[in-house]
């Protein structure tokens, strides 16, 4: 019987975001947001033509809030922020059709993971009472 080699937890990060605050961010338009969010995070959003949060679906706000919280959680687990050589887009969050989230690291974030001896990063999100909460765990 095959047994998977147990992974060790290298580091943990957690973050919480108010979903309504994401509405304000969305009002700045996709062009500005694309400096901080990758295309895989922005494309699924249903952002209206007008720059008004009233045209943005709650689901879009919820999704981006999760992506934002996920990025922050990953940065915390990596022990670095986006001012320390890492770009926001170095961490890309993706939600699958089953609702689960995965994360892809590139650039300095990927280098940092390697530096830490990390093999992969797992993220988990939940939404409750107007807040998105994300946890990131680095496995060695």
């Amino acid at each position: 019987m095959l047994r998977a080699k147990p992974s060790e937890v290298g580091a943990v990060g957690i973050d919480l975001v108010e979903i309504r605050k994401i509405g304000r961010l969305l009002s700045h338009g996709k062009a500005r947001l694309s400096r901080f969010f990758s295309s895989c995070e922005l494309e699924p959003l249903q952002v209206g033509n007008r720059r008004s949060s009233s045209h943005i679906s709650y689901n879009s706000m919820k999704r981006l809030a999760c992506a934002f919280a996920g990025k922050e959680a990953v940065f915390k687990a990596l022990g670095r922020g986006w001012g320390q050589g890492m770009r926001w887009n170095d961490v890309c969050l993706h939600q699958g059709s089953d609702g689960s989230w995965s994360v892809k690291l590139i650039g300095h974030a990927a280098e940092r993971l390697k530096e830490m001896g990390g093999s992969h990063v797992a993220v988990s999100m939940t939404v409750s009472k107007g807040h998105a909460i994300a946890q990131a765990i680095i496995f060695t």
Partner: protein, 127 residues
């Protein structure tokens, strides 16, 4: 070039919109996080609003550099070292370091980010 008062009023407006605070709360010495309740997501909103208001470009990490103190050489026993203080002066030259230098505990770091700091930053971009 806008006067200091004009810059302050525009910065104040940006902060009122981004943070949902009253005008009266936005004083020059008010700290973005502790006094005005700003969080990391608010920093993005503030950056976007400042860019639109002042027609400037704010590169990532220039106004609100995060984790400057992740370097172990700059932090010791919960405080910023002399080398760390010098690094901070280079990274955020528009911040008033006088109070922080007297008590350079990491816990006080967020107090560097004040309304006044943002005004000085904006003024420096206009020069």
């Amino acid at each position: 070039m806008a006067s200091k008062n004009e810059v302050f009023e525009k910065v104040r407006n940006c902060l009122v919109e981004a943070l949902g605070v009253d005008e009266e709360e936005v004083k020059p010495e008010a700290t973005i996080m502790n006094d005005l309740g700003g969080e990391s997501i608010d920093f993005l909103d503030i950056v976007f609003r400042l860019e639109k208001t002042f027609n400037i470009k704010i590169p990532r990490g220039e106004l609100f550099p995060e984790s400057i103190l992740s370097n172990e050489a700059f932090v010791k026993d919960g405080g910023v070292t002399a080398a760390g203080l010098e690094e901070l002066k280079k990274k955020i030259p528009y911040a008033d370091m006088s109070a922080f230098e007297k008590d350079p505990r990491i816990a006080n770091f967020s107090n560097l980010f004040t309304v006044d700091m943002i005004c000085r930053y904006v003024e420096s971009k206009a020069q």
